[in-house]
Symmetry: C3
Subunit: 157 residues, 3 copies
């Protein structure tokens, strides 16, 4: 079975939508797809409410700024303090385009493997308890490389 991997570094709504569209398209075309979430991409995997308060001040401050959850992703351009994403969501509804949340769950249903990058979780102030429960694997770069070198398509988003 042909494989594909996508490193989801970005947490920007527009980029993430492109990544999910490609993942869903590849999985629908019969490919075995892996998505590795790292840095800002981990925001997609975050629960709406953060659990752990035992973190240091820097991490708490950072977590306040860096809002997570699929509903709160900013845009890579024209974010305008949230007006950009609001406009885009309106337009997406008009064109019957699925939201990031819907794309994520479609990808899951099609068997796309979701891997959270353990190397960057700490720096991003995230523990396993802060992330959604349907992540397939917690792993690092070596696992990614093993997948990627056997894949026909490898993208960094």
């Amino acid at each position: 079975m042909d494989k594909a991997t996508i490193v989801v570094f970005s947490g920007d709504m527009d980029k993430v939508m492109a990544a999910f569209n490609i993942a869903v398209g590849a999985a629908s075309s019969g490919m075995e797809v892996t998505m590795l979430y790292t840095f800002w991409g981990l925001n997609i995997l975050r629960k709406d409410k953060m659990g752990s308060l035992s973190k240091g001040i820097l991490q708490r401050l950072f977590t306040l700024l860096n809002k997570g959850g699929t509903e709160k992703l900013p845009m890579s351009r024209f974010n305008m303090f949230g007006m950009g994403p609001w406009m885009m969501k309106k337009l997406m509804k008009r064109y019957s385009m699925p939201s990031v949340k819907e794309l994520y769950s479609t990808a899951k249903q099609l068997g796309v493997k979701m891997i959270a990058c353990t190397i960057t979780m700490g720096v991003m102030g995230l523990g396993k308890e802060d992330l959604v429960s349907d992540i397939d694997e917690f792993a690092g770069v070596i696992t990614y490389i093993k997948d990627a070198r056997e894949s026909k398509i490898n993208l960094f988003v």
Copy 2:
């Protein structure tokens, strides 16, 4: 014939130049190259003047902000309200580097296939009449996946 694909998600002048340099390099090296324009990347394919005025308010507002055409692309860094791109264009001329417009037409002459992503055209407020006439294909992600899984080089820019 070896194939290559580039997803042009970005509409930033500097990134787009990198994408075109790679596309032109690959085509010159005898590869069959496909570029899929999506989201901000569609700006590269826009005519200077927008035709259709029958769109909704949100889309018209968005189109006003989101200037298109190869001459109006911003930079990913140091855009400074257009001063950055102006400076870079000056430097590019000094070093006899081709502009985005010239790179696009060189790529076309070398047979690079230009595909506009139909999934995102609506959300970006763009109809076929808003785009340049020499686009090779209007297609979605499934067409891209078919190309990409047979390609030696796949990039997301």
Copy 3:
């Protein structure tokens, strides 16, 4: 020997760290890795102090804005005039994560080939004398394509 290439277009600390982690992971897994530095990515290769003062005004102005050297890279998000990178460096130390400088030298030790893109050096206002001395090659896109079409993993960061 399986090959991998990474185009380092970005000069953002977080993206560059992701690129180096992948490069180091691939090299540790026995792959032959090439990194091509272009546009802002060239900042990683810059010496702390710039030597040449014989450049034009535009380039000198640009060089003042566009700080280089591994210690001065901004972040792709939450840069906040340098507070973001400062916070992230603190967190990286706490989690015993290597800095960009350390990742670069680990990559070098593992035999990762570092190529500076000659096409963009001029536009970025950089001469060979402005870059660190352990660069393996000065080359353009044709060299990159030759490597990439033989590689199992190709990323654009």
